[in-house]
Structure formats: structure tokens, C-alpha cells
Chain length 134, copies 6
């Protein structure tokens, strides 16, 4: 893919989740940097850069899907943080997760909810850390 | 569950998808009417009647999850029709489905897209039928 | 595996579902007879021949699992017929399927229930056919 | 849902698994108490309170399904403890798990078996603790 | 993505499965041409064009994965045909499918095997058709 | 199954992964030794001892399937080590994992890649340990 898409993807990833995104890419550097590049180029440079849905809708869809699948806890946590970053409220997030009980069963919803609890607590911890530094 | 919840669920189901919802409930009548009752009471009387997400957000989350799971084509079609009914655009729907390629792979996205193609065509057929009747 | 296990498996398969089991084995004859042999030897000659669970418990567990997985409709139908054959009541079967709404979501339970509806109807059809022949 | 169903669900949950059930509900209190309420009301007040299957059959079905799905280890452990509580023998439980090798593959059966090993050990530990206190 | 990748992807797709690939792309033309473009660009222009694995290894991996997942029968059939096209023998294909019984259970292996039976029969039909035209 | 198959399976398991295989069997000894016996007899004595695919092809198929399923991390790690043992290169392994992004989504590929990173590091650690002992 051309250079422009990588740059666009990196930019988009930064809007969505600066810290976690970078951590994933870094952790792939010594095993499969190209997989990291595809996440940026195809994931964020293409899909997340398309018109038709705003970032709040995209993160809501992703939280729903990863909660339902139940096989991607690390990625769900990244996107729970991203969901907060793009402006979804905690209520919108927990309602989305709860709704998955209907489509993927209660264990999926429970495991998604416990992931959200963890991500929200980390978010609070970082916010209070930042507050105390000012 | 009390009577009120059943009534509320039925009302909510009608807002979302009048025809398909009723068809599912009817088809359960002679094998497990209680499963149909739970769909209405717990699914629509509880979850879909909660504040925090509007119906467009709920249907977007459901389309995302059912596309990603790939084990619920009949229910995906019901909710693709519901997504149109509650005002999601075709573009919002196809973008949601396409995004699932990232989280559940291309076959999931392709099978979701072919379901959308079918549901949109049926929607057009019904619309042109109604138009011709006036 | 030794000859005895194949014979024992065939015997066990006949107790569980004479017609459907044979049909599966036959349909594998020209593509992978060994896969059919493993179904009989390992599936029925080993697992279904073990003490510790009776056949009703084994079929109840299988109906639960296949309903929850949602990727094995043909095999679910075979085991729904088998569940009737080993003496589970229709109520026990539909309650097992309904319970899966909790663990795998409503679409899984609904698709399982519609499979049961089909299998029960076929069972009635065969029963009335047999009755009319006497 | 009306008050009665919540009370009935709580009662049913206590019969099935007093400690683990309460822990799940408690851990939801500050993130989504309503999800905990639905587990009690819909899960235990409705489904697990229905006639047609006894609690041993219900737990056997749940152990089968959660082992096969492979995405719900915490919930599988809760229900392995519940299975013991309602009187299923260890042999019935391990046979159910082993049978899942046929329907969901060996990794699912192995991971289920290791969960059972852990739950049985904890059960023994608690039993010996109680014995030493008398 | 730049033009070159689309061309490379189309070329690669033709090597793998000329007819079925084109049919998928065509069927997306009026609902989501971009999804078809991504299949070509990212799927075939990137992944299937990478060094490190030859096309036989790639198709063997794909047949294994799609058989195990059990949610992608249409795509499994496309790749069963592709597996033949790139030179895998029928024995290599059926052994790969059979092996999935270990990792995803017998229903997955059975449904994969019946798909292979269908694809092999269609392959024979086309071959005899071509033979009769000469 | 007869004695010969157990011996053949044990032999085959040793070729594939001496240490990890034995560990799994040992850890089943006090909960379900028969499940361990079936892994050896049916898994290695039957399936992995069949002609038609060599061990490199079998491990490539297994790595692909377990990465795609995403529910079997412990077993994936065993087979990543086995893949190295039977002579697949690290590049062949990481390419197989990366390809799964197409069929099961990026989270499946990422989680598979992180498992490979861990297994490769352990492999290096053992190799440098052995080197230092000479």
C-alpha cells in the first residue's frame, strides 16, 4: 500500500487510541512488523477512515462484536478505551455490552462487562494521576 | 414477568420490525410459546426498552454482532430489516458489515453483505408493491 | 482400532439412531470412509459406550452443545431424533434448547428450536405412516 | 419484572451456587447492577425455575455447552461447582466434558477438564477446611 | 491502496480460482464494490502475494481454518476449488479436513467433508464437460 | 483401542512434541486419564499417523485452525512448538498466523502472533541453555 495510507492510518489510530495502539504495533516489531503495518494501513488507513459511519458508531460496532465473539479480550479492552476516547459515554458502552446477552449469551455479556470495569478503572486512575500533576 | 413488560415488549418489537417479529413469535407457537414470550419480554420489553442507547444504536450493535458471529443468518436478516425501519441508512448498514472483516474475517463480512443485499432487495420489492397499490 | 470397537460402535449407533447414523456413514463412503469409521469407532464404540452417563444424559449434553455452537445444524437434527429414540421427552428437549438462550444467546436457541420443530414433525409423520400400515 | 421473580431467582441461585453466584452479582454492583438483576430474574427466576428438567439435567446441559463454546471459562467454573452442589457426581461431570471432544474438539474438552480439576480441588480444600473446624 | 496492488491481487486471484473469485466480486458490485476491492487488494494483492508460504500451503491453511470455523461454507467451497487449482491432491484436502475433527469436533469435519464431496463432483463434471467438447 | 495404536500414538507424539505432550498427559492423570489416552490413541495413533499429509503439513493446518478458532491458546502453544520441531520455519509459521486475519479477523491473528512470540522466545531460551551446557 502506498505511503499515504500508512500515514492516514497512523493519524486515525492516534485519534482513536494513542497509547494502546502504539503498544500493539511495538509488540509486533520483532515478530511480525507487517501484521502491525496491516493493522494501521487496512484497519485504520482504510476501514476506520471511510465515510458513512462516524468514529462513535464504529467503536460501538466494534465493542458489540468483540463482546459477542468472546475470543478477543485484549482487543476488546483496547476498543473500550477507544470508545471512551471518541466520546461514547460509559452508559452507551455498558448498554451495548449488556445487549450482547441477547445475541451471544450472558457469559459473553458478563466477560465484556468485567473488561469494561477494568478499563474504566484504569481510565479513572490515569485521569486522577493527570489531575494530581497539575 | 408481569403483564406490563409483555405489552411494552410487543410495542417495542412493532416499532422495530412488525412483520418479521410477529412471524418468529407465530412460528414458535406450537413448539415453545414461552421462548417467543421471552424474546418479547426480556428482549424487547427489557433490553430494547432501556434508556442509554437509541434504537439506531441498538440495531447497529446487533447487526455488527450477528455479522461477526456468523451463526445467525435468519436473525441477522430480521435485524437488517429492523435497521432500515429505525432509520439507519443503507450506507451505515453496509459500512458496519464491512468493518466486521477486521474483527471476524472476510467470510463473516461477505456473508453479512449478501444477507443485506437480499434484505434491501426485498425492501425495494415491498416499497414498489406499495407504490403500485396507490 | 481393533474389530471389536467397530462392532460395538455400530451396535451403539443403532440404539441411538438407526436411520440417520447409517445415512451419514453411507454418504462418506465415496469421499472419506475412514471419517465414517472414526465416527463409529471413536464416537460410538468409545465415548458413547463408556459408563458414567446413560444415553439420555449423553443426548441431552449433545443437544445442548450443538444448539449452543450453532455451526452444526445437520448433526443437531440427527441428535434431536436420537434424543427422542433414547427416551427423552419433547419437553426435556425443548427445555434444554431454551436454556441455551442464557449461554449462547437467543438466535442459537431459536435456531435449535426450529430444528426441533422440524425433527418432531418428521417423527410424527413417520409414526402416522407406521400406524397406517397396520 | 415483578418482585416475585427476583426473589424466586435469588432462591434458585442459592440452591445452585450460593457463593459464586453472589460474587458475580456483587462484582457487577458498581458497573451494571441491572445485568446482575437479569441474571437472577431471567436466568434463575425464569429459566432455571421452569419445570421439565431437574437441576441436575440443567447443570449437565450447561457444563456441556460452556465446555463446547470455550469462551466462558469463569462461568464454566461457576457451573462446575454448581453441578457438584446439585448432586452430579464427578464422574458424570468428567464424562460430559470428555464427550465434548466429539462435538467441539479436544482443546475444548481439555480446557474443560482442567477447569474441572481446579474446581474439584477447591471443593476438596473447602471440605477439608470445614472438617477441620469441627 | 495504489493501483499496482489491485492488479497484483487480481492476477493472484486468477491463479487461485478464476471463476469463483470473479463471481464473488461481481455479486458485490451493486451492494459494496469496496468490499470486493479489499478482498482483491488486501486478500490477494497483499497476503496471498507474500513470500514465505507457497500457494499450496496457503490453501491448505485456509481449508483447515474454514473447516474448523464452520461459519463460512460458501468461502470454504471457493477455497476447496482453489486448493485443487493450485495442485493439492484430493487426499491432501480430505486429510486436512479429517484432521479438523481433533480441533473443532466431528460436525466441523463432516460438514467440511460434504463440502469437499460437492466441490470434487463439480470439478469432475466440468472436466468431463471439457473433455466432451474436444 | 488395541495396544498397538497407543504405542504408535506415543511414538508419534514424541516426534511432534516430546515435552509438552507428556505434560498434558501427566496433568490429566488424576482427573481423566482416558482423555489423555484418547489424545494419544485417536489423535496421534490414528490421525497424525495417517499417510496423505506429512507432519509439516499437519502442523501447519493445526496452527491455522487453532489461531482462527481463538479458544485454544494452550493447545496453540503446544502446536507452535511442535511446528518448529517438525521443521517448519518461523517464517512459515508467522505467515500462516498472519493469513488468519483474512478468515477470522485481526484479533485472532494478533493473539496467535503473540503466542508465537512467546513460544519462539522459550525455544531460544532452551537452545541457549543447551548450548551453555556443552
Amino acid at each position: 500500500m502506498e505511503q499515504g495510507i500508512y500515514e492516514r492510518g497512523l493519524q486515525r489510530l492516534k485519534e482513536v487510541d494513542d497509547i494502546a495502539g502504539e503498544k500493539v504495533i511495538d509488540s509486533l516489531a520483532d515478530i511480525s512488523p507487517d501484521l502491525g503495518r496491516y493493522v494501521i494501513e487496512f484497519g485504520f488507513g482504510e476501514i476506520y477512515s471511510r465515510p458513512g459511519l462516524n468514529l462513535q458508531q464504529r467503536e460501538l460496532a466494534t465493542v458489540a462484536a468483540l463482546t459477542a465473539l468472546g475470543t478477543a479480550q485484549p482487543q476488546l479492552k483496547v476498543h473500550l478505551a477507544a470508545a471512551l476516547n471518541v466520546g461514547l459515554s460509559r452508559l452507551e458502552i455498558t448498554e451495548t455490552i449488556m445487549q450482547m446477552a441477547l445475541y451471544a449469551g450472558f457469559p459473553a455479556a458478563l466477560n465484556g462487562m468485567f473488561a469494561a470495569k477494568e478499563v474504566f478503572a484504569e481510565h479513572d486512575r490515569l485521569a486522577s494521576l493527570q489531575a494530581s500533576q497539575h
